[in-house]
């Protein structure tokens, strides 16, 4: 299986409900990031969590990271129809001299979220 696998592949919920997406990865990471993509357009960065962090919040977003299980989750609370999009996790792997990142991210397969009004 690939770095950055996500589940579910698709999620359909009603407005006001919470949406949870999960991401698993294989290698050691410096950080894990979540991105959003609206219908085939460019990706927008949502949140970054470092390997030494366990939980992070940004507005209605909550991200957790469990490095022992190599997994992360993204929770969107009180969802809105405008949250309808594809969500991708991306891992920033440890690599190069001194364990620093060499700059590239590896993206998961993504979760398609549909929020019904």
């Amino acid at each position: 299986s690939q770095q950055g696998e996500e589940d579910p592949q698709a999620l359909s919920i009603q407005e006001g409900e919470n949406a949870t997406m999960n991401c698993s990865y294989k290698t050691s990471i410096n950080n894990l990031q979540w991105y959003r993509q609206n219908s085939g357009r460019g990706l927008v960065h949502l949140i970054l969590i470092r390997s030494n962090e366990r939980e992070k919040h940004s507005g209605r977003l909550r991200v957790t990271l469990d490095t022992s299980k190599k997994s992360s989750s993204l929770l969107i609370t009180a969802s809105r129809a405008a949250d309808t999009a594809s969500y991708f996790c991306a891992t920033d792997a440890v690599g190069g001299a001194g364990g620093t990142s060499y700059g590239k991210l590896t993206f998961g397969q993504g979760t398609i979220l549909t929020v019904h009004p």
Binding site: N30, Q33, G40, H45, G103, K104, L105, F107, G110
Partner: protein, 114 residues
């Protein structure tokens, strides 16, 4: 944050032709990347565009098929050469202003090859 402009935003191309995609950033950036997103799929890194030297290609991607230029710290081009229908994808330029930071993306160039 960086603002990235990509051209063209979309194009329909004939098999066997080549197309060059331009990426312009509103500020100098150290790292620039080109990603491909095939229909319904995730993003796959094609290469890292290096200023003043040859691009660094990922496994499965070669310079003859995807030549990349980066003449300065704000501009890069990706050419998709000798296109086939399998090259129909969204091609995304992205930048990163520091290691271990976030990526900024252009809006992408959606290519359809007939």
């Amino acid at each position: 944050s960086a603002v990235i402009s990509q051209k063209p935003s979309r194009d329909i191309c004939q098999r066997g032709t080549s197309l060059t995609i331009q990426c312009q950033v509103d500020s100098q950036v150290t790292m620039m990347f080109w990603y491909r997103q095939q229909p319904g799929q995730s993003l796959t890194l094609i290469a890292t565009a290096n200023q003043g030297s040859e691009a660094t290609y990922e496994s499965g991607f070669v310079i003859d098929k995807f030549p990349i230029s980066r003449p300065n710290l704000t501009f890069s081009t990706l050419t998709v050469s000798n296109m086939s229908p399998e090259d129909s994808s969204i091609y995304l330029c992205s930048t990163r202003d520091r290691a271990a930071g976030e990526l900024f993306f252009g809006e992408g160039s959606r290519l359809t090859v007939l």
